[in-house]
Subunit: 457 residues, 2 copies
């Protein structure tokens, strides 16, 4: 006998939790589709040389390699060399490979969503996952991509979190050009810009005092005046749409790069307003840096107003060149990612996951053996109307059948005993409030559909 | 520069094919849910000792192992031993592990569906995949499971393929007890039964003559009389519901096991009729053996009437004990699997995949820069009504925008030029028939929803 268990670092759910998780996935997907994004799925494994274009980095240390028994044996004989295949660690590298590989078959700007699991050999600890869902959208241009897409992305984020209904949220932006222009103005140039950026990215975790100290240490060598200016700049946060515009104007003029970043943020704010995004849902936050070298324009983070400790639940930004490792074509883009496994885990920890309702709408009970064929026919009738129906296959005690439905979170029980069969009626009980009605067969399905309202898919 | 490419043996789709594939997945899922099956997802990798309960078999030779860089280095130093984790090669073993692991948190009969990718190190060749979707349902009982579930499964198969609309199909069954009882009657006992079963399973591929020869060779040692009886038995196929009952009756009585299998098939046929399944969609076919030791009762195969060469597109059956490797509890069950990647590939080869329609319903065109904010607002209005809308972000030539929508398979284009904006109207063009209407803004969304009819999700 082998003890049944999952590997550490994965999130496996019981059915009722899985239903709640699936609802979130469905909401995200239908929202992505409502903005015209097209589905893409890529294989879980990529060729190692394709996935790991840069070798020896932190990424590679976290990668899982995959090999068949035959390949495993061979590699043990031959010693060195990477296994042929590796599991994707994000959806961005597979997107780059996909766009470069299928470049001539795609229409640009290429708008894709992708919702699949990714793999990272993280140190096992609570809330860290080795397998987790990412739900990404990106818009990829060929040679160029209108800055207007920078504002469409937060409109999608807004729609997603409005529909997920997990509480008030704020989409925050900054702009890499504004940041780098500001650094230039302080005499911070070249590679040091990335180092300062990464340090500012730690403000949330380390706090201002520690970051200030680092900025002034030997490696950075910034003066206290410059360090204080950087920190003051990082403190800029808007409280409303109008306030965001005022604060951006108050920054005044800087280097051309600085002005370009500032004007881009203003245009994004105006476009969000034109799209009718509630003004309370977006803000500028000049402390947002996003550590990756990758980003070149706007950067986004999204936080739940009541749960700041969760950190960003949806992040991303604009980049100049998606797939330079795979193609000479210049492919600028903008996109975001929702780490749904982690988000779900955190919502569950905070008691915010609703596992009350089953995906089954109606349990068709079986009162007596003579009613079996009838119960089957009733079930099929309800299914034909789009209802999700489970049929009791054995005539257990009726109390047991109600108890089963209640525990499973199934809202309605449908019954046809001898009486109902004689009068061609059906008794429907709503377990939410205990109400019970006996209706003619031909109106029962409509009655149920009406009661279930929007919860019927 | 690295050449962007996928590993061999995977199916990666362009967006329009992916949309068609996604529609099939959605149809299967909603049908599974309409029968009250609950969603389960398991991690892509399992611990090797859990996944490979029997070592050294054919299965293990096809397994992909997964290990992180650190584990890879260690295993190279230490030489032997299996890597810690392996990718699932089907959804049945993970189901067994899941049910055994979560036994005390599940309600039985446990009805689950699972639609995920599985991995097998198949020899690379056309139509063989190393990564492919399986779409499974199973009903698992504790200690016992009513034979009535044997008939519910084909009702689900019927609903799935009716809704997938890929042509007429026939769900065929046989029963292991009928087969084994018949073998007993011919003096074929014990282990030889499995060998004969596996041989009969090859009838489609090898033909009657070759199988007859094998059955009579030294290893089998059956007489020509017995071999001919086996082949005659295998030829039994029904042409209608009534004919199936007649043929089963005509088999007469045999061993108790034989009679039990025959009566079970009769009960299944009657239950299918009670569920209103069209009689043309199911049949008995006593040549169906399903090679796996695993099955103990009814077995199913499903074929497309116009494409017999595709073989079974949905197979499964009844088994006595799901998880004997992981738990002492007896867990009998019945289930089926659809190998969707292979099916999609075959339908595509046969020209039966419809990639005509985009997942985007409407393209909101942009006629002039002055209309940009207006186009954004229109897009949001349409989205609020559940439509899937892509907005043109740049005022390109209108012919280009129509061409783009047409090539992308987007059915409707919505336009608001100066004229429409002045009169608060919108022009809607249906690219399917070229018809164009200019409507008041407040009725436009309803008009589109009506036209799109059932294609709106």
């Amino acid at each position: 006998m082998i003890k049944p268990r999952t590997p550490p670092g994965v999130m496996e759910l019981l059915p009722r939790e899985q239903i709640a998780f699936q609802r979130m996935l469905d909401t995200i997907r239908s929202t992505y589709e409502s903005f015209g994004f097209l589905p893409v799925e890529t294989p879980v494994f990529e060729l190692s040389d394709v996935l790991l274009t840069k070798t020896g980095g932190e990424t590679e240390r976290q990668v899982y390699f995959a090999q068949s028994t035959g390949a495993l044996e061979k590699s043990r004989e031959n010693g060195e060399g990477l296994p042929e295949m590796a599991l994707r660690f994000d959806l961005t590298v597979p997107l780059a490979r996909y766009v470069a590989e299928h470049e001539h078959d795609l229409a640009f700007p290429f708008r894709r969503y992708q919702m699949q699991r990714v793999y990272r050999g993280e140190r096992a600890q609570r809330g860290r996952f080795r397998e987790f869902y990412q739900c990404d959208i990106d818009v990829i241009g060929k040679d160029a991509l209108s800055p207007r897409y920078d504002a469409e992305i937060p409109a999608v984020i807004n729609a997603v979190f409005e529909r997920l209904a997990i509480g008030d949220f704020t989409i925050q932006f900054n702009h890499r050009k504004l940041l780098r222009g500001f650094f230039e103005g302080q005499g911070i140039e070249g590679e040091q810009q990335m180092l300062v950026l990464r340090e500012l990215d730690k403000l949330d975790k380390r706090g201002e005092a520690a970051v200030r100290e680092t900025l002034m240490d030997e490696a950075f060598g910034l003066s206290d005046v410059v360090a204080d200016k950087l920190l003051a700049f990082s403190r800029v946060r808007s409280t409303s749409h109008a306030n965001a515009l005022t604060q951006l104007a108050a920054l005044g003029d800087g280097t051309p790069l600085f002005n370009e970043g500032r004007d881009a943020l203003v245009a994004t704010l105006e476009q969000l307003k034109a799209m009718g995004i509630p003004e309370s849902r977006y803000a500028i936050n000049l402390s947002i840096a996003r550590g990756l070298d990758y980003y070149t324009g706007i950067v986004y983070e999204t936080t739940l107003d009541a749960h700041p400790q969760i950190g960003s639940i949806c992040s991303g930004g604009r980049y100049d060149d998606l797939a330079s490792h795979y193609t000479k074509s210049k492919l600028p883009g903008v996109g975001i990612s929702i780490g749904l496994t982690r988000l779900f885990w955190q919502l569950r920890e905070a008691g915010l996951v609703d596992v009350a309702t089953s995906s089954v709408d109606v349990l068709v009970a079986l009162l007596d053996e003579a009613g079996f064929a009838d119960a089957l026919a009733l079930s099929q009738t309800l299914r034909a109307r789009g209802l999700r129906v489970e049929t009791q296959m054995e005539a257990r005690k009726i109390a047991k059948q109600f108890q089963y439905a209640d525990r499973a979170g199934i809202r309605f029980v449908a019954l046809r005993g001898e009486g109902e069969r004689a009068t061609d009626t059906v008794t429907l009980k709503d377990l939410r409030n205990g109400e019970q009605e006996t209706l003619a067969m031909d109106v029962a399905a409509d009655w149920l559909v009406g009661r279930l309202g929007e919860s019927v898919q």
